[in-house]
Amino acid sequence: MSDFTVELLFGSNEQAYPIKSEAIRYLGYRKSLPDDITDSLIDKCSEELCAVVSPKCCYVRTSVEFPDENITSFGFGGIKSHALYTHLQGCSEVILMAATIGISADRLIGKYGRISPAKSVIIDALASSAIENWCDSAELTLTKKDKLHCSRFSAGYGDFPLSYQKDFIQYLDTARKIGVTLSNSLLMTPTKSVTAVIGIGASSRTCSNKCMTCENTHCIYRL
């Protein structure tokens, strides 16, 4: 057995409650609002989801180095990515984190996928908001002593290759710590899970609007 000293953070269910307005945005409503019937269905689905979320997070705080241009290193070899390199400039440390709201959300989405696609789609959107909310909440706890830190950055953003998901999962021992596993095609299970790096350091920036830094300007969810 291996037992790297990865720390754990368990949340209360409230910390992983979905934010309704966010879920509605994920459902494709832009400026309009759902009608009353849809709205009450969203509330009902939200109640079902809130009852089963189980927020967990594991993380490591470690140093970050930039051995070469566009190369970032925090313990598992150099990562070649301009986006990550730029994002973390000025940081001396990083927090590598993995978070999940647990497998029950997948079961609920799967169950309704077979009997009510409307509920399935709504719970999927709510669960996406729930994991974001949990990550925000975990991030706040993990960085509360650090006045300056960057927003979360994940494998798959910009040119930060998704293949590094493997290193995150292995390094943070997520299967054992919080039950997050990776499929051969780099999908995480539970699906409502996130791995990310948070940069910490004197000259780093905070970013309140995640959409503004994203390169995908055609995204239908862009604020």
């Binding site: 057995m1 291996s2 037992d3 790297f4 000293t5 990865v6 720390e7 754990l8 368990f10 459902l27 494709g28 832009r30 309009s32 759902p34 009608d35 019937i37 849809t38 269905l41 969203i42 189980s54 967990k56 705080r61 313990g75 598992f76 647990g102 497998i103 029950s104 997948d106 079961r107 799967g110 169950k111 996928g113 077979r114 009997i115 009510s116 696609p117 409307a118 399935s120 789609v121 709504i122 999927d124 998704l162 290193d167 999962i169 292995q170 390094y171 299967a175 054992r176 710590k177 919080i178 039950g179 596993t181 499929s183 051969n184 095609s185 780099l186 999908l187 299970t189 539970p190 699906t191």
Partner: protein, 794 residues
């Protein structure tokens, strides 16, 4: 003495953590500790030696992650690991053992993840064969956080070695595994699989475990293992440490021993010092094995259901007997229909679901395997595997995630010879029908004799009487008015003189009579009062549920009558809803059916349609109401005035309307617009998008063959050729799975399939679609429908 004798006679001790000690000796983060068996064998032997020195009985080999997913040289690593432990043991006398250590694979099993159950069994088997050959004394399956993976590991151990099997799982502070199992579920499954000791390790310190150990001890009849971490990890000056020392740890271990734990040790962060102190403080405490528990339990992957306390309802609806729609669903491989029967029975209050999918023209073994896997992906009730085919029974019991109820064995030798070995191997509680070599005895005494014979024969296999539930058979009173009395007398005799629980398929009692529910529910009440423990019944029958809830309330089994009140209020609220629906229908100015579909009111759409087809031509209802309503919503979606949830709610309402109308249609008018295959490609396990497309295409009159998710190219191709398919819809969510989409398209072309291919999914774009050779890129579900409409698919 061997390890099994040792744990029966006195408290036994495991060693502590390995990883922390290896890090101290220079193991780098990310480095694989198992390699140190070869490169640093002196250090590994030294750690084992230090643990034996501290007084422990069992050391765990340094093989936690030694499996073929990580290593090519498995034999070399495992044999070195066992040699390292043996070298240390040779220096000591007394009861010292080597546990071959197996950790979790770090992969999620299907259907939630991508690892096949049988692949997991085979990966575990590789290591176990080597360890067995190299001379390990026992197998320790540890740090398991999923019940299904645990079952795979135990089966691999049973099939490839005769060594004792110990199992410890990781519970969180809510006393659940990561995938949801509570201690009662794990104990039921593991004792069913006949492991030798069970318990918990890792994740928590002894303080947090103190709350969970009593829950395990309360369920277990075999020795209990507790191997905690050295508290919880925390960061001190940038370095992570565990928060309790050997002194506090060992004080808490005294309390854990006093809770009834038999085998003690440590996990992450613990050292020989922790173990030495624990042994010092606990070795003179009184020692006793867990009491043998007398309850009858079955389990799912989340919880157990105990038979013999409150009456247990076994939902009977997943069964084709006498149901033409169900039979058709089986022939069409329409799994959604079957799942729906399961989910609605759970909502109606069933505790366990009977699963019978036997039909002469289908491959029952394949079907029951598939249905059990699909059911256990979305429903957390224990299942009752109901088949007369021993091959189907074995396959279903093997892949079942928990301890099943098995329906059934009877008093004929051929039946007992087939069923009991399966119960012994896979675990299970079995329903025993009182049918002997000469058929069903007419007297209660005769049925009792057969029950007795079955219980005695089971004991020869080591199957305890608590795992036998006798069904003394209810037969209709319409052909013999004494038959209910005989059944009731049998229940009395069997429960009193044999000490086993009983079950009945209660509805048989009224066969051939009018208003059967009246008779069945009254018989159910008498049978419950006589001592009946479970009923295989229809949970949708209000009469039956009335009897069940009233009985529980009247017999003091329903605290403050809560369940009864909830049940009764639901019945009232249904009446109210109907009234509301009618009144709004009257006040609405638009067409009520179109209105219901546009607003997405499923129940109302179904009810109004059912009424309409009694008044006018069903085809007219479809063409003048349902289709135009769907089109209104579809256009709204395309114009972005209607959004996805509404589109789908309308689709569900339209589906309900179609179902009501279809019953009234002639076969000629039921013709579909053609068959379309839908699949999420290999490697991808997201199927929401595909399911959306499916519901819309079905509504627009297409026959959808849904191949599911993670579907290999060959399967899609075979199906397309076999059914001469005109359109294949492929979905992928990740950039990493688009290549399998491309591969699928290539294979379809190579093998000359005539099908057009439409692709969709979060990462796809027109450019991507062109690049991989798709015929059409649909950005959403409506576009797929519109594309299908341009093709002639018949």
């Amino acid at each position: 003495m061997n390890i099994l004798e040792k744990i029966k006679s006195s408290r036994t001790y495991f060693d502590g953590g390995m990883g922390t000690l290896l890090q101290e000796k220079g193991l780098q983060p990310g480095e694989l500790p198992e390699l140190w068996n070869l490169t640093h064998s002196d250090i590994i032997t030294g750690i084992h030696r230090d643990y034996f020195e501290s007084g422990c009985n069992i050391v765990k080999t340094n093989t936690f992650g030694a499996n073929r997913l990580k290593f090519d040289n498995l034999e070399e690593i495992i044999s070195a690991a066992i040699d390292n432990a043996k070298k240390a043991r040779d220096e000591f006398d007394g009861d010292r053992y080597i546990a071959y250590d197996i950790g979790s694979l770090g992969k999620m099993l299907k259907p939630l993840g991508d690892l096949e159950f049988e692949d997991a069994v085979s990966i575990f088997a590789d290591g176990i064969k080597i360890a067995d050959k190299c001379g390990a004394d026992l197998i320790l399956i540890e740090t398991m956080n999923d019940s299904y993976e645990t079952k795979a590991a135990v089966l691999a151990a049973k099939e490839n070695s005769n060594l004792p099997i110990f199992v410890t799982c990781v519970y969180d502070e809510r006393a659940k595994l990561m995938t949801g199992a509570d201690p009662s579920a794990m104990v039921a499954m593991l004792e069913g699989l006949r492991v030798d000791a069970l318990g918990m390790n890792c994740s928590l310190g002894p303080e947090q475990m103190l709350g969970i150990v009593p829950k395990i001890v309360a369920e277990a009849s075999i020795p209990v293992i507790v191997n905690p971490n050295a508290g919880l990890p925390k960061s001190v000056n940038g370095k992570t440490v565990y928060d309790i020392d050997a002194e506090i740890f060992s004080d808490l271990m005294v309390k854990i021993a006093e809770c009834g734990a038999n085998i003690l040790g440590g996990c992450c962060g613990t050292t020989p010092e922790f173990i030495r102190k624990t042994i010092e403080k606990t070795k003179n405490l009184p020692y006793s094995l867990p009491e043998r528990k007398n309850f009858t339990a079955v389990s799912s992957y989340t919880h157990s259901v105990k038979i013999g306390e409150v009456p247990i309802l076994i939902g009977e609806r997943i069964n084709p007997t006498g149901k033409s729609k169900f039979k058709q669903a089986l022939r069409d491989n329409n799994i959604d229909y079957i799942l729906n029967e399961g989910i609605t029975q759970q909502d109606a209050g069933a505790d366990i679901l009977d699963v019978n999918v036997g039909l002469p023209e289908i491959d029952e073994a394949a079907m029951i395997t598939n249905v059990v896997q699909e059911l256990q992906a979305v429903i957390d009730l224990p299942l009752q595997i109901d088949t007369v085919d021993p091959v189907a029974m074995e396959k279903a019991m093997r892949i079942y995630n928990g301890k099943p109820l098995v329906n059934s064995v009877n008093g004929k030798k051929i039946s007992m010879d087939a069923v009991f070995p399966l119960v012994k191997k896979y675990g299970g509680t079995v329903i025993a029908l009182t049918i002997g070599e000469k058929g069903i005895p007419e007297t209660a005494q005769g049925r009792f004799e057969i029950a007795k014979l079955i219980v005695e024969e089971a004991q020869r296999y080591g199957i305890d009487r608590k795992d036998i539930v006798v069904d003394p058979l209810a037969m209709t009173i319409s052909s013999d008015t004494e038959s209910a009395n005989v059944t009731l007398d049998s229940i009395r005799l069997i429960e009193k003189n044999l000490g086993v629980h009983t079950s009945l398929g209660v509805s048989n009692i009224s066969f051939g009579l009018p208003n059967r529910d009246f008779v069945t529910s009254t018989f159910f009440a008498i049978a419950l009062q006589t001592g009946l423990d479970c009923a295989i019944m229809n949970p949708f029958s209000t009469e039956m549920m009335k009897t069940y809830h009233c009985y529980k309330a009247l017999r003091g089994m329903d605290e403050s009558c809560c369940d009864y009140i909830e049940f009764a209020s639901k019945i009232t609220s249904t009446n109210t809803t109907v009234q509301n629906a009618v009144s709004s229908q009257q006040s609405g100015s638009e067409d009520p059916l179109m209105n219901a579909i546009i607003k997405g009111l499923k129940e109302k759409a179904g009810a109004v349609s059912a009424q309409l087809v009694t008044e006018c031509d069903p085809l007219e209802v479809i063409n003048q109401k349902i289709i135009p309503a769907l089109d209104t919503v579809g256009k709204g979606f395309e114009e972005k005035t209607v959004f996805l949830p509404q589109l789908l709610m309308s689709a569900e309402a339209a589906k309900a309307a179609f179902e009501a109308v279809r019953a009234a249609l002639s076969t000629k008018d039921q013709q579909s617009k053609g068959k379309i295959i839908l699949a999420t490609v290999k490697g991808d396990i997201h199927d929401i998008g595909k399911n959306i497309v499916k519901v819309l295409l079905s509504n627009y009159g297409y026959d959808v063959i849904d191949l599911g998710k993670d579907v290999p190219p060959e399967v899609i191709c075979d199906c397309a050729l076999e059914n001469n398919i005109g359109l294949v819809g492929l979905s992928a969510l990740m950039t990493t799975t688009v290549p399998s989409m491309e591969e699928t398209i290539k294979l379809l072309r190579e093998r000359g399939a005539r099908a057009k291919v439409v692709v969709g999914g979060a990462v796809l774009t027109q450019e991507y679609a062109d690049m991989i050779g798709a015929d059409y890129y649909a950005k959403d579900a409506m576009e797929t429908v519109r594309y299908a409409e341009t093709l002639s698919l018949l």
